[in-house]
Symmetry: C2
Subunit: 676 residues, 2 copies
């Protein structure tokens, strides 16, 4: 969940000269995100047709209106051809209505403007959250509630919480619930909730439409809640000696515009307000075939569903969609060199649109670096050959693309890692601070009723919750037409005398014909999960493919008919496969705020479309059931999960067999100098 | 499985002067492995009482006879007290009988010598494998078989395969099946099996007792099987630029004898012929309590079970126990600096006993290094406080202990990683080469019958198989008396009107009373798996504990009554808990070769002993179902799996909150120098 992030306002908005310099230096790829100047054009065009003050206009989302896949691919095959038309997709609120506007940037015109009047609302802007969060502070009943609690108003900070949907039949207004916290000597604001008070704010009216002060609960004390190094008191642990990654000749990758080349990989990296990093057109060079082979047309985090398990009045509705409601990209934070990313990292900036359409910049939104963690890519010591010992070892050096999105209290570290062996590994690290509930209890023994969490400190309950991240993985294994194969490991009993064995397992491959064949709950039955190109085989006759090696097998524990679960139904399965459909990008639906579960992955896939030998999309749900422990207080050591897309009969043989290890570095006598 | 590793013979046996120097510099801890001089003493004492040539004597295993846990702990609490008696445990074959001998090194005497006449045999020595592997080469029928195939005898290399047990009632002799491979222009020996021939060798007689040449199968050709960099032909991929880990002031850890201190951790690291690395007495310093707190009394890989899924005559019996049959430590290989371990690694040697009792050395058997992979230990950007942005980030720096054991074709990379946050992470990487079956088929379309594997190349089938590693984890969380808690995440339906929600999950903790309560198959139902100290609580009343965060949920697919499965029954569950029992070290039984499943973890736990508030041992099975792919040919990119032991209400709050990041390194202008 996200609190009003005031720091986006601190991130300077761009001057014309800056914009100009960016245009001039910019290299153009059809999937490049909109540049600041393009964002400004969009602003001018949309505001032009909806002049302010006549209209009440806010930009909720602006991003590239991506050209269709065929035109991207044809451009790719012959880049001398004219680029596809450059278009922007805008979601705006105009006079309390949601507009879907497509702007053509070449003709400087609006080519479509359609009002959406279905269920759900667009992503919240930072500005409206900031405005909403200020309202209680001047609202008499709230001021009274604060003084009744003996708290100082000037030490109160608030956040806007999406309200979800709990079965209301009629259309509900676009509201948030503003919940407040207490600073007073700490910046560990989420550790000091002011429980019992709920302020409902109508975002379109920007005024308070509901208020309740239900109960008084002690605010957890400030002691121990501040996570700043500068505020820690002794004793301190001994400091570790300096350690760094060192590349005397610089990195082995090149970045031109948004295209990145490293080792045998090439891919495009774009920033999107909603999705954050979008990996596109990842292809790998096949040394033997002397050709680039397509692997991943597009990969991104489509949604994050974070339901809490607390039924109390101030908590039951906390079932957040961090991408659809708050913008996973919009919540990205500037990465800190040497801390968030190692010494050898290269950084890229990202651009978003403010509520009034003005472009803003997130400096260092991505970092790209080569990782050598001391691991082994492959090795073998051969001692079986009389008279000789043969040893060959290759270090694992990989390329990492990183973004950190801080959705309020949580920090999500999102890594895409490319390996020379052809694997793509995605990792998410969860850190930041918990969302805790204030409580009268100071010791577990006092607890009488259900508290829906772990007592972490005096008056502090860490609420049970889940995180479900779903990845959109549009694999194009050596082309678009792919099939999904579930290769089950099946035990067979041996009852005849063909062998002294009584059992063994073999692989039973099932090609998924329709969507219903590919909804999978992991952990129950072992299987290899493959995306193959049924039209291409290796020399010995195996389908070329990639397989998903899942990391987590966690999935939804809520009942199917629960309102939040209807909205986040993608979390019921760890794996889904759908036929490619440009409009099916957001697994929780396009309009997630107050959505009713009528437009999302679970609903799309009910059509049970054919997925065999088609352009298919794999959806993987990475789940975390989070039972908090005291170690998570006041800030959490990172917990992470990964999955891997690994070539599986894609290459004729080990693609890194011929890789030469990087040269060893000869150390001069300047290590003394180095600390001088 | 292991081929006769001739290179152990190349590893020089030690001269007296070398031994002396080692004694003199050696610091003595009751858990230190036997020194070369002690190994020599053992040899002298045992041979003294069984003079050769009167007796036929071979040393199958020699290791420290570990003092009892209480005496270790009392020594630990007061190290000025006299060390417990120094004893060696010997398993020898004397006149075709298995002897269990305990040698007291202070009194230079044998304090017990008992003959074991149950089922199963001790670990094979390298020398007897080497001898067995040579026999076919001078055995007329074998020579005839080779020439019949048109192969050159001088290009044939053989390996000794353990035969397992397939229901034989009477006692069987101590035999191996010798299987042979063809070199002839390649060192990828396992890629060139000579199928159809089986030679049975009696190891005690050291002669051939059975022979069959059942069928002729083309030997896969040499092309593409050689994994040596020097033998690869162009085209080559571009070489990556130099990259290294750099610690200008050296490492932050200290090694004294076998005790390692780093950050808040202290532990003992020993080498054992059978287990490889043994981590003991791992304790962590608690800054707030200003005391060292016990975490892991002992951790090691107890067994590796590797059943193949091929029913054919030459394959059905291949159900290997890599620790009990071949010695996971004995198969360890010297680590290559800058390849197996990074630039900043420190190496340690290991000592084993040759068949005649002479100590041998494995140089660089362990490496120890600090890892900084560019990851984040914890972070948070706080943007919710009006007017300021707060960002705190700490890099993840951890300590890794590594060994590589090459059990024939497979290379197992075994890591123990210690984190400042209190986590212990164990990772195993599988690489090396596959065990393949020769085949007449050159294309998948030709295949008519079941081939029990993947066609990887012409005439080459990669056989389906499993790897099950079971870890012995004697956790002593803040003391010996611990309990195992399975905290199930249980969904509750909300049918009343107490909340608009229809469901939520909560945590239902079940304290395991007996062994049967703690046999767990993972992946079916979500649960937190905790080892707690029920006698110690945090200030707010939570039991102090550690939890297991499993990586893999794979487990046995063989039927319970299959002979191999009876022997490797530990693989049926991912998790077991037993009360501590000094004799219960080897999950597959002490005498694994030809064992009959009558002495192993599954059998011990049938006693269903009490495990509540007792000194308990956690056993975790890490499983890999290996379906080979062409990328695994001729050498496999590493596949790895991990699990983590993570503090869970062990600390009052985040133990790394106060950690200061290592100082940044100021780079001088000598990076140019550096490549000079």
């Amino acid at each position: 969940m996200a609190m009003a992030s005031s720091f986006k306002n601190l991130i300077f908005f761009l001057s014309f000269s800056q914009i100009l310099s960016i245009i001039l230096t910019h290299q153009y790829h059809p999937l490049d995100p909109l540049t600041p100047s393009e964002l400004n054009q969009v602003r001018t065009i949309v505001r032009g047709s909806n002049p302010i003050p006549h209209h009440n206009l806010t930009f909720q989302y602006v991003g590239l209106d991506e050209p269709d896949k065929p035109s991207i691919l044809s451009w790719l095959s012959n880049q001398s051809t004219k680029n596809p038309p450059r278009r922007a997709s805008v979601i705006a609120r105009i006079d309390k209505k949601t507009h879907e506007i497509t702007v053509d940037l070449s003709t400087h015109s609006i080519i479509s403007d359609r009002i959406y009047d279905g269920h759900g609302y667009p992503t919240l802007t930072f500005e409206e959250q900031t405005a909403a969060n200020k309202l209680p502070l001047t609202y008499a009943p709230f001021v009274a509630s604060i003084s009744k609690r003996g708290l100082k108003l000037e030490e109160v900070g608030c956040g806007s919480f999406s309200v979800g949907w709990y079965g209301e039949k009629r259309k509900t207004n676009r509201v948030v619930k503003v919940m407040c916290y207490y600073l007073d000597g700490s910046v560990g604001i989420y550790m000091r909730p002011i429980e019992g008070i709920t302020t409902i704010v109508d975002l379109d009216e920007m005024k308070i439409t509901g208020y309740s002060d239900r109960l008084m609960v002690p605010v957890p004390k400030a002691d121990g809640t501040d996570f700043r190094g500068s505020k820690q008191k002794p004793p301190f642990p001994p400091r570790l000696k300096e350690i760094t990654v060192f590349q005397p000749k610089g990195p082995s990758f090149t970045i031109s515009g948004h295209s990145i080349r490293w080792a045998n990989w090439e891919f495009h990296l774009a920033f999107d307000m909603r999705a954050g990093p979008i990996i596109s057109l990842a292809s790998i060079y096949d040394l033997e075939k002397d050709e680039r082979r397509r692997v991943l047309y597009k990969g991104f985090v489509s949604e994050l569903f974070v339901p809490y398990m607390d039924l109390t009045e101030e908590w039951y509705y906390r079932t957040f969609f961090d991408a659809g409601e708050y913008g996973f990209g919009l919540c990205a934070v500037p990465l800190e060199p040497l801390r968030d990313c190692p010494e050898n990292a290269v950084f890229m900036d990202g651009y978003f649109t403010g509520q009034d359409g003005t472009p803003g910049k997130i400096p260092n939104v991505f970092c790209v670096f080569e990782r050598y963690a001391g691991d082994v890519m492959w090795r073998h010591t051969e001692g079986a050959i009389p008279g000789k010992v043969i040893r060959e070892v290759r270090q694992e050096v990989s390329l990492v693309v990183r973004m950190v999105s801080t959705v309020g209290n949580y920090d999500y570290i999102v890594d895409w890692e490319f390996k020379q062996s052809g694997s793509i590994k995605a990792t998410v690290g969860l850190t930041g601070t918990l969302e805790v509930r204030g409580s009268k209890y100071t010791h577990k023994d006092q607890i009488e009723e259900e508290v829906y969490g772990t007592i972490l400190a005096e008056n502090t309950i860490g609420a049970y919750h889940d995180h479900f991240l779903i990845y959109h993985l549009d694999l194009d294994v050596d082309g678009d037409a792919n099939s999904f194969i579930k290769a089950r490991l099946q035990t067979t009993s041996v009852t005849d005398d063909r062998s002294p064995r009584k059992s063994y397992w073999s692989v039973v491959s099932e090609k998924a014909k329709r969507e219903s064949d590919a909804k999978i709950q992991l952990g129950l039955k072992p299987a290899e999960l493959l995306v193959v190109n049924p039209n291409k085989m290796t020399r010995v006759g195996n389908y070329v493919g990639y397989r998903l090696i899942p990391g987590s097998v966690e999935r939804a524990l809520l009942s199917d008919d629960d309102y939040a679960q209807l909205r986040g139904a993608f979390s019921k399965y760890n794996l889904w496969v759908t036929p490619y459909n440009k409009s099916e990008k957001w697994a929780g639906g396009l309009y997630t705020d107050q959505s009713r579960g009528d437009d999302n992955l679970a609903v799309w896939s009910l059509r049970n479309r054919e997925i065999e030998n088609k352009d298919i999309v794999l959806w993987y749900t990475m789940g975390f059931h989070h039972v908090p422990y005291q170690e998570d207080f006041p800030v959490m050591p990172t917990v992470s999960s990964s999955f891997e897309l690994r070539p599986s009969n894609f290459f004729e043989y080990n693609p890194v067999l011929k890789v030469k290890p990087p040269k060893d570095i000869k150390w001069p006598n300047c290590s003394t100098l180095i600390m001088a």
